[in-house]
Symmetry: C2
Subunit: 336 residues, 2 copies
């Protein structure tokens, strides 16, 4: 069945039923002109929006509607994680060609819904529209946290250690593989986990919240456009420089295998590949305390370098495996 046979009212009613989740803070979800939530004194409100556009951010050949739904929400949740917050609710806007199948929409919603449930967000509204051209999913996530715990990009201080969660570059490796072998890369071939990292990234909400509540992070960002570009943003906003060592950047077993197969671009994938949705943060706490937090939140956390006073030329120094400075053509993914 195609969407054009359904009509908007039925789509909205379907949404209302599917997302009719109770949340103590939500007075009204889908079905009025706006959602309505209760505000709480002393809490900061976090708001972020992202868009996934067919042909730019995803290709239907490379993903499934279920995973597309999950990812559309996950990447906005990752922004909430990067402030140290927790999600409250989300608004979803869809642009769908009229030839879209009902089955596609159902799967997309199922992905969104599973992701929302897993991370404690409620779908509180949105809208669905036709579109000429490809599919478009726009997500807004509203989160919150104690107002005095928010971790900005601008708080890095010389002497801070730079940490990242998880392993870096897998998403870009996965994309390379997906481009070569399509969606079957998820179940077959040497880079299944990397493909999954690209299509189904997990927002680091537990680690982010924990770092903020314990006041351990001076600055934080999620790695969406590449390790070096996102680190450079932290440096710019903090008025500092940074030195990182490629040898210390944690990489996965699949990336090690890829690098060993004499692929020269592995360092580029690690340093500039985007969409890992890991957290990068800076801290002056001792390593043991950070490692303890990592164990408690089930998150691998690795030091990769340090923040320094603002240098003369270039904010970023990247030391390669041979001990020499790496010059990058460009830092990371730019959307134009």
């Amino acid at each position: 069945m195609l969407l054009k046979g359904l009509g908007e009212e039925r789509i909205i009613r379907d949404l209302e039923k599917r997302f009719a989740l109770a949340h103590p803070r939500l007075i009204k979800g889908i079905g009025d002109d706006t959602s309505v939530t209760v505000q709480k004194a002393g809490r900061a409100l976090l708001a972020t929006t992202d868009v996934l556009i067919e042909g730019i951010h995803f290709k239907p050949d490379f993903t499934t509607p279920y995973l597309l739904g999950k990812k559309s929400l996950s990447i906005s949740l990752s922004d909430i994680a990067a402030m140290g917050g927790e999600p409250l609710f989300a608004l979803i806007s869809l642009g769908l060609p009229s030839a879209t199948k009902k089955k596609f929409l159902d799967e997309l919603y199922r992905g969104i819904s599973d992701c929302a449930k897993r991370f404690g967000a409620v779908i509180a509204g949105g809208n669905t529209s036709g579109i000429k051209g490809g599919i478009m999913v726009a997500t807004t996530v509203i989160g919150e946290m104690p107002a005095n715990e928010v971790v900005y990009r601008s708080g890095a201080r010389p002497g801070d250690t730079i940490y990242v969660t998880g392993t870096i570059g897998d998403s870009a490796l996965g994309l390379t593989e997906l481009k070569r072998n399509g969606i079957k890369s998820l179940s077959k071939g040497p880079f299944k986990r990397a493909a999954s990292r690209h299509l189904d990234p997990a927002p680091r909400l537990r680690a982010g919240r924990s770092l903020a509540s314990k006041r351990l992070a001076h600055s934080m960002i999620d790695i969406s456009d590449g390790l070096t570009l996102d680190l450079d943003r932290v440096c710019e906003q903090s008025g500092v420089g940074a030195i990182i060592e490629l040898a210390r950047v944690p990489i996965s077993a699949e990336m090690r295998r890829y690098a060993a197969s004499s692929k020269k671009d592995w360092a580029r994938l690690v340093l500039s590949g985007g969409e890992d949705y890991e957290l990068l943060f800076t801290s002056s706490a001792n390593l043991a305390e950070i490692e303890g937090l990592g164990r408690k939140t089930d998150t691998m956390i690795t030091p990769i370098g340090r923040i320094v006073a603002k240098g003369g030329k270039g904010r970023l120094t990247i030391i390669g495996l041979n001990g020499k400075t790496i010059k990058l053509q460009r830092l990371g993914f730019e959307h134009f």
Copy 2:
């Protein structure tokens, strides 16, 4: 100059400068992973999102980038008005083909910025991405109001009078004219004001806020998909029926002229034409009090019918000029 020559960082920096407006509630606007706002006890938080898609909601031949920017924000502000709230801040996501001219983006931003300033909203974040296909503007507006004053669609009671602000059907008339004569309909021809109503609708924030703060409205909605469809939504959610009289629905001088020129579809434009962004509300207050509020907020307010107990067949009764019931093929605009 084309966008692809600019790069995302420059676009974001340009945005930061343009929208660096102070707001006592905004701690952090554009430039971090999320915006950060202070929450206030006793206030309800309102959130709404809308998308304007080229070829579906607008055509570049019929509008200007400046008016497109204004409208993209106005229609979300109208949702805030329909709850009785006031805007706090907005997030804007753009999907722009790489061949988009810098001049287009500047004008779009100028429209968004002018609209935000006029209605007291701050642009607090968003993102810009390439797109295959047409232009896409997604807007999220966050508003607020005293928690005990929110006006829902669901509060209409039998005996309530049904009111609308402004005149109805102009936007649909304007669209008809724009389709015939293009953007010059705004400056030339018999339906200039109607064309302007379509391209540059004004959210009824003052009237909505005032109705809510004085507790005069039992239910409220903005007329985005057509008078009858939006009234039907109020009836459905309130579990009531409604009777309206076409003769009492306020129409503009241009619509009267259009109707007099023997155009048979004028009633359809008034009853089912969408995008007027006027408010429809129901109230048991006396007419004089409502009229007083209208004068004070500089808003024309007209009674057009009444809420009745739920009837047997159909929730809506529309009485035509000849005193007979009108049967509509469909109530209003549906997006598929």
